[in-house]
């Protein structure tokens, strides 16, 4: 069976909405309810964050969500327990995103095997170097039909973008500006970069992330790509809510 991420991009070319949420947040057992509400309200893709104690590429909002999720008891092991039967109800593609250390300790092969078992479609490991992926892990990911998605930034050279595109499967994650997550950097100056990405005619679809927080920024990103990824703004919308499904419904209604 082909990967759900590929199926999605085969059937939908524009305006794809990918929402990031830290697993085990706001409460430990909210992982599945959040995913269910995201699917119901029209998220096309779900990115689940595997919380890490020292998330170097994240700003305060996602850092705090990670700290809270870890305190709640979330871990790679726990997440796979929670995801055991999630494919009975969730049909949208699901990506796990996290830092390399917890995955390395869990064991890369074990991890890929578990992902395939429960029905995860893709993985983002921002601090896994491309070369090491290619030499040590690519074959394992492919064996389990798992897509690894790499990031590009405004500072990434064209040559490197090509290499990243050749190794990525599913899509390429274009970081909108050189920053940690949740920084309010102006997307206005990024047009040349987005335009360039478009001209490069990559083999993969492109989703833009970082700094997407509302309808205006979502639409702006979609104008240059197949869709966009929202993280920090979504975490903010649900971190203090007493009615999770309603908060998620409102949030997505505000974007789409």
């Amino acid at each position: 069976m082909s990967n759900r991420i590929d199926q999605l991009f085969a059937s939908k070319k524009t305006g794809i909405l990918n929402i990031y949420c830290t697993a085990g947040f706001p409460e430990l057992n909210d992982t599945l309810p959040v995913m269910t509400a995201l699917q119901q309200n029209g998220a096309d893709l779900i990115e689940l964050g595997m919380p890490f104690s020292d998330p170097l590429a994240d700003g305060p909002v996602i850092q705090e969500s990670s700290t809270r999720a870890i305190k709640n008891g979330m871990s790679v092991r726990k997440l796979f327990e929670q995801l055991k039967d999630f494919r009975l109800n969730i049909h949208v593609p699901v990506i796990l995103m996290g830092y390399l250390n917890p995955v390395l300790l869990y064991g890369i092969e074990n991890f890929c095997k578990k992902c395939a078992e429960v029905g995860v479609d893709g993985v983002i490991l921002p601090d896994l170097p491309m070369d090491e992926y290619e030499s040590d892990y690519k074959a394992i990911f492919e064996q389990y039909g798992l897509h690894l998605i790499f990031l590009v930034t405004p500072e990434t050279s064209d040559e490197r973008i090509r290499k990243i595109d050749s190794l990525s499967k599913g899509f390429v994650y274009a970081v909108s500006s050189s920053s940690t997550t949740g920084k309010d950097k102006d997307m206005g100056n990024q047009q040349a970069y987005f335009e360039k990405l478009k001209q490069l005619q990559l083999k993969n679809p492109v989703l833009i992330g970082f700094g997407i927080k509302d309808k205006a920024t979502f639409d702006a990103a979609c104008a240059y790509s197949n869709g966009a990824i929202i993280g920090t703004a979504f975490i903010r919308a649900i971190e203090n809510t007493t009615n999770l499904p309603a908060a998620i419904k409102d949030f997505i209604a505000g974007v789409k």
Binding site: D54, L56, Y99, N101, L105, P129, E132, L151, S179
Partner: protein, 405 residues
């Protein structure tokens, strides 16, 4: 100056890919890749430039006060029954070995066209050394420091501010060195073009462990010359140093790494005891992992979350260890010991009364283990006295009231 010697191919120096055995590398997210790549591509070229070396050497001599003395500590030697020499990094300008590295890195930053400097600091010695060279070179300077360390190393915070640096508190996690380093890395991600990150220890992504070790290698370069002069032999029997991330140890070991007759001893911070749950003895408690973009030994939970360490010494309060040292541990090239908070305090008190030298708490960890190394009476021992104790006076007074008053 031997900082630019080609050491590739040596078993204990970094390889072309940035590894020491299975440790090291550069596990950076794409947002950080261009910054790190720029350094990887340029650092050796810059270090090999004779004009760079001349400027570095001159500043070390005229500004830092090098060579630092190699002092035969007679009363300490009598007590521990060996010939113990102290390499007096405490006499450097700003009071520790850290300045060797910051002088090198600021010159490198200038050559890379950077205008803004950031750094992390634990004890504040690296922060002060960075703020100092920034004042000297008229560069903007931002120092990240854990809130806990801002409290326990107050004199150094005042010095950094007087030198014109902005000191930013790191309030996440254990609010110590690890968290300050996280914040510095995040700053670098957000300022990829104009900023150079002066990392203060032999840790972090390649090329930092190698680059910092090379700048600190002046310590062992001088030891060889000084020992030859004093004893007729350039090689000691032992080199002893404390290890936080491992920069003073890397510098003290550097030119002895491939001399098997020189025994290397590393002393980590045992905190309240290795098995107390309050320790920073990484080789005893750590497993293979990734911290600050380096694959190394790391204190972590069974789920791969980084553990909060403990040490009375802010400079050693770190849950990882530089990749060179992980490799020296794994290959058995160096012997790893650890000293508890109390043992370090006692050793500080002892050196003060025996030799009239108040050492930094970090260096005191190395001193604390002199009684546990099986010296023979004729052995020549060099201990790297990495810094002076001015910054630790409050801790010394608080913990040893009956002995000081």
């Amino acid at each position: 100056m031997k900082i630019a010697e080609n050491t590739f191919g040596s078993k204990y120096h970094v390889d072309e890919k940035g590894f020491y055995g299975r440790f090291g590398g550069a596990y950076v997210p794409e947002m950080l890749y261009p910054n790190v790549k720029e350094l990887q591509d340029n650092y050796l070229k810059i270090l090999r430039d004779p004009a760079f070396q001349q400027e570095f050497e001159q500043l070390l001599r005229d500004y830092v006060g090098r060579p630092s003395p190699l002092y035969l500590a007679k009363r300490l030697s009598e007590k521990y029954k060996a010939n113990i020499y102290l390499k007096r990094e405490d006499l450097n300008h700003t009071g520790a070995h850290k300045i060797n590295n910051t002088v090198g890195q600021i010159l490198l930053a200038q050559r890379l066209g950077k205008t803004r400097i950031i750094a992390e600091t634990g004890a504040g010695q690296h922060g002060v050394a960075t703020a100092t060279v920034c004042a000297l070179m008229n560069m903007e300077c931002v120092i990240y420091m854990g809130s806990v360390d801002i409290q326990r190393q107050a004199p150094n915070v005042a010095r950094m501010k007087m030198l014109g640096a902005t000191v930013v508190a790191a309030t996440s996690g254990s609010q110590t060195l690890k968290d300050a380093t996280n914040e510095a890395i995040r700053d670098w991600i957000n300022n990829p073009v104009n900023t150079h990150y002066i990392l203060g220890t032999a840790a972090g992504p390649h090329p930092y462990p190698d680059m910092v070790s090379r700048f600190q290698s002046v310590i062992s370069e001088e030891i060889k010359v000084q020992l030859l002069e004093k004893t007729g032999k350039a090689n000691p029997d032992y080199v002893v140093a404390c290890i936080g991330g491992g920069s003073n140890a890397a510098g003290a070991y550097y030119h002895f790494l491939n001399e098997p007759d020189v025994k290397l001893v590393a002393v980590e911070a045992g905190g309240k005891g290795v098995n107390s749950g309050f320790s920073a003895a990484t080789t005893q408690l750590g497993k293979l992992g990734i911290i600050h973009a380096s694959k190394t030994l790391l204190m972590q939970t069974e789920d791969g979350q980084i553990t909060e360490p403990h040490s009375i010494s802010a400079g050693l309060d770190y849950p990882g260890i530089g990749p060179l040292h992980a490799h020296l541990y794994e290959t058995g090239r160096a012997t790893f010991l650890n000293a508890t908070d109390d043992e370090a305090l006692q050793a500080a008190y002892e050196l003060t009364r025996l030799e009239g030298i108040i050492p930094a708490l970090e260096s005191s960890h190395a001193l604390a283990k002199l009684g546990q190394i099986p010296f023979k009476p004729n052995d020549v021992v060099v201990l790297c006295l990495s810094g002076r104790g001015d910054k630790d006076m409050e801790t010394y007074i608080r913990n040893l009231p009956n002995k000081i008053s």
